[in-house]
């Protein structure tokens, strides 16, 4: 029986001992101060809390920490200063993808996973990749364009 959960957030080791049903988002925001992870719906539908767990996109608001033993978690704070992260952040800015910004960390994480798996996606593939991320401002078009821009500019970065 595990008495504590050990996992890695943005490459730093975290040991949590407490209720294993504690939501990962609450540890990320309240204990680690990673407030780029946003809580929108709180039921896994809006994607604002998206993080990357062992290479896969997950919604941290419905992920219990007890399911994170040994996992490597990355949040927007962990990727934004990497080459790939900078490429996405610059493209989102230059492409005018951001209005209120609440959904953007989640969008960037979804785009990061997409481009890491598929460096030159077509429009439909991009739309599917962000279909679990809701944006109430932009109507999505400029976000889709910006992800395409990041793919074009990044080139070999994503391969």
């Amino acid at each position: 029986m595990l008495k504590s959960i050990t996992f890695y957030v943005n490459d730093s080791r975290v040991v949590f001992s407490g209720n294993p049903l504690t939501r990962l988002i609450d540890i990320l925001r309240d204990e680690l101060g990673l407030t780029g992870v946003k809580e929108g719906c709180g039921e896994g539908e809006c994607g604002a809390c998206s993080v990357i767990k062992d290479g896969k996109l997950v919604t941290s608001c419905i992920l219990p920490v007890g399911a994170c033993e040994g996992s490597h978690i990355y949040t927007i704070e962990g990727i934004r200063d990497t080459d790939k992260g900078k490429c996405l952040v610059d493209a989102f800015r230059d492409g005018g993808a951001v209005q209120c910004g609440f959904c953007i960390p989640g969008m960037v994480m979804a785009a990061y996973v997409l481009l890491s798996e598929n460096p030159s996606p077509d429009e439909n593939t991009i739309r599917k990749a962000i279909s679990g991320n809701i944006c109430r401002c932009t109507g999505y078009d400029l976000i889709v364009e910006s992800i395409r821009l990041a793919a074009e500019r990044g080139g070999d970065l994503w391969v």
Binding site: R23, G42, E45, I62, P64, G132
Partner: protein
């Protein structure tokens, strides 16, 4: 309020199940949502929970000697959608479940154990006569998924058992059909869903089957209605369709918006049967392959 556990071995999990009646949590996409309490608070079910996501014995998809496919309970919707071993109806349903992040978390064991008539995976699994393998200290037992799910949120799972895997027997269909209707493409819970399949040999329908999701307290298959079509020549099908549709309509029992659900179910069945009557190219009817 229950105490929550993270067992490290299958044996520990079975012990917790037996001694504490702990409820297994795999991906958490149902339990974490159903018992959520909002910002900063851990969900608080009134039963003990054990998080079994680390039990690798319950993972993996493999082909068995008799051609069946065994899917471990912890296989996620994303893994099922991506596996070429898994039959088309089930891959199709898995690929339309939630959005990417949900498919990376939600498991087949959880989707079955939750027992919802709107669940995405039970509907095509019941079409294919899938069986569920249940594990306890007494050993394993197997039963048809159609019998395992008793009604809305009710299953035959004993309180010392956990779901180990799902076994899908082999099939070769001439025509296959799957459709899910929801409010949006991503992250929608089914308003209604239907799977159908049909095998034609020498102009005779040797196997016909259908299953309706979200059209009653559990996934509905009517062997009685199916038998009206099975073993009949394709040439006679057109004359049988009205009576068959009436029999299927009798079998389903949608609670909310019954007229809409009954009408739409009939239209989906008609779309499939018309393709069979018109001698469509063998394969998938009505939608892109995957």
């Amino acid at each position: 309020m229950g105490v929550n556990y993270v067992p490290e071995t299958l044996e520990e999990a079975l012990l917790l199940r037996k001694a504490e009646k702990a409820v297994p949590l795999a991906g958490g996409t149902d339990i974490m949502v159903q018992h959520r309490r909002g910002l900063g608070l851990a969900p608080q079910p009134d039963f003990p929970v054990m998080i079994i996501s680390g039990l690798n014995e319950l993972r993996g998809i493999k082909k068995l000697d008799d051609g069946s496919v065994e899917i471990g309970a912890l296989s996620t919707a994303a893994e099922i959608a991506a596996s070429e071993l898994v039959p088309w109806h089930v891959r199709k349903a898995a690929s339309g479940m939630g959005a990417i992040s949900l498919r990376n978390s939600a498991t087949i064991g959880g989707n079955i154990g939750n027992g919802s008539p709107k669940g995405d995976l039970p509907q095509p699994l019941i079409l294919l006569d899938a069986e569920v393998v249940l594990l306890s200290f007494d050993g394993e037992r197997r039963m048809l998924l159609d019998e395992f799910i008793i009604g809305a949120k009710k299953t035959a799972l004993r309180d010392d058992e956990i779901i180990k895997s799902v076994i899908i027997p082999p099939h070769e269909f001439t025509y296959s059909y799957y459709r899910k209707i929801g409010m949006r493409r991503a992250n929608a819970i089914s308003k209604l869903s239907l799977s159908a399949a049909c095998t034609v040999k020498d102009g005779v329908i040797s196997d016909f089957r259908a299953s309706s999701g979200a059209a009653g307290p559990k996934v509905i298959r009517s062997r009685e209605a199916e038998s009206m079509i099975t073993r009949k020549p394709v040439a006679e099908l057109e004359d049988i369709v009205p009576d068959f549709l009436a029999a299927w309509d009798h079998a389903i029992s949608p609670h909310a918006m019954p007229k809409y659900r009954r009408n739409t179910t009939a239209r989906m069945l008609t779309e499939f049967l018309e393709a069979v009557i018109n001698g469509a190219e063998p394969g998938i009817i009505g939608q892109e392959a995957l």
